[in-house]
Amino acid sequence: MAQTQDNKPLFIISGLMILYAVIASSGILHPLMKYLHTAKTADLQVTMGFIAGGIGILGALVNSVRKPGTTIIDRFVLQPLPGILLILLMAMAIRWYVEPVVKLISHSLQPVLGFKIYKVLNLNYVILGLLAGVILTNTYGIPKFAQAGVKCARFVLKMGVIMLGARYSFAELAKLGTYSIFLVGFFVLGTVFFVLWLGGIFRQPKTMTGVLSAGMGVCGVSATVAVAPVVKAKSEEMAYTIGTILSFGIICMFVFPTIGHLAGMNAVQFGAWAGTGILNSAQVAAAALAFNAVDIKTLKVAEIFNITRVLFLPIIVLVLATWFGKESGKKLTFKEVVIDKFPIFILGFLLLFAMSSMGLFSPPTHYKGKFIDFSYNERSQVTEKEWETLKAALETGAIKGLTPEQMEAVRDLVAQRQIAGNYEDRNDKKLFYHQGEQRMFQLESILAAAKAKTVEIPKDVKAAIKHAVKQVHKKSKTVTTLTDCMIWFFAFGLIGLGMQITKKAIMQAGGWPLVIGVISGTTKAVLSFVVVLWLVKDVVLK
């Protein structure tokens, strides 16, 4: 029993997990969970607590009765287990308590600030996990018992990156207008190469420039996390890049709407500019709404450009993997660059992206598991009560101030009880989908106008329209579950990587990434502003 002393932390952590699972299963925490909006995960909280705690106790018992060795089980399970469970415990605390509390605080601050701070600062498990790791390592330090476990972080993060592939689909990219693909493609690739070139000029390490180029070019935080292992970026370089992107994005979020108004941009032009120039999806939406909260077109166009930018991620990953393989060695042949130096885990990411594009997880035209289904389905209908409300409102003329198109969409909603194309056109899928899309667009415009108080609609009618729009928005269970796995892998990996970021390492990185980020970001914003004003006139929506 000589090892019992070393197993104390493992026994304590496992015991805490089991204790939490017992308390959670008793229902005592239910009111708190409800308040934090985590009640849906109650079963998961109990199951994870019992399973992880049980494995921990088992590992600790095995460690107590046998001498440590060098077998595979020792290296990959028994030695890292205390660290793995510590990180998992931190991830659980962040996902179920810290993140919801940050969201609640952010909601309460919304009336004062005018936006949700957790969305704008991306204060989700990614940033909170990294911060938790950084705080622990720079205050208490990584406990000795957890050191082997921390070494699993990068490996788990790679699993998360592979899962990320399931969230995108090539069919969604193909569905978008050729125009936005060319425009965004030019700026994404242009920024990536511009940052790589700037990195060369300022003599920055290739690992740093590689990760920064993806962050500045594609979609901010997820691109940074996905590309970091490809270009072998250090943890602090990844953290630096995320910091640069988010701070630059916050400035853009406030500056873009003002410039847009001063330049007299129309809704479509601003949407295109914000979607191209701003990096973080939440910041794009915030800027679009700040520019124009009434015309839904601004947000729609911004979202289309934003999605197009995000969908370039697999291409950028390929480009950077090849670039890094080529740059890190001396004289390499094509085979060495593409086959020997190519990170194998990226094949997994591309494989899941291909599977997702083929429709294995969800209808191929999904984006992050969400898709719109206009097909006739009882589950897509509004409720009987809602239908009666809408019908009565139409008959009594309670809905006022709508455009003829908006009125037509409401009339059709009453006729069909759901948002869909014309029944007689159901065999022509393209036309049917287009009709449904137009109707949904009109109904969403009504909701936006009601929110901005430019039209007067009774509350229950508004609720019925809202429900009708919600009903056609479907979510794939498979992609949602794969995304949940990805979130846990990312949360685990980023806490572990955060633990590798010391103050000294941050100081060593210096201010150059910020300089490169600001130069490339500003160049992109200015160039896209000129191009959008010059080329985008009005309609880019298909």
């Binding site: 030695q79 000795k144 990068r154 699993m159 885990f345 599977m355 794969l482 796995c485």
Partner: protein, 65 residues
């Protein structure tokens, strides 16, 4: 022989510094300090296999069963 020694930033979990011989393969040592795997290829392959198993299980329980 102190001039043949160099300092690298490794230590446990990438923290701290270690003194090693100038001839040592620093890249490999740094690599090992950051991962439980013997090489990055092993790490990538394991991540790939485990992710595919996870995907298969998710498909099995959410779609096929």
């Amino acid at each position: 022989m102190s001039e043949d020694k160099i300092k690298i930033e490794t230590g446990d979990a990438g923290k701290g510094e270690s003194e090693i011989s100038r001839d040592a393969n620093t890249e490999e040592l740094e690599e090992r300090a950051l991962s439980v795997f013997a090489s990055e290829r092993n790490e990538d392959l394991t991540a790939l296999i485990l992710s595919l198993i996870t995907t298969f299980l998710v498909l099995l329980f959410t779609k096929w069963l």
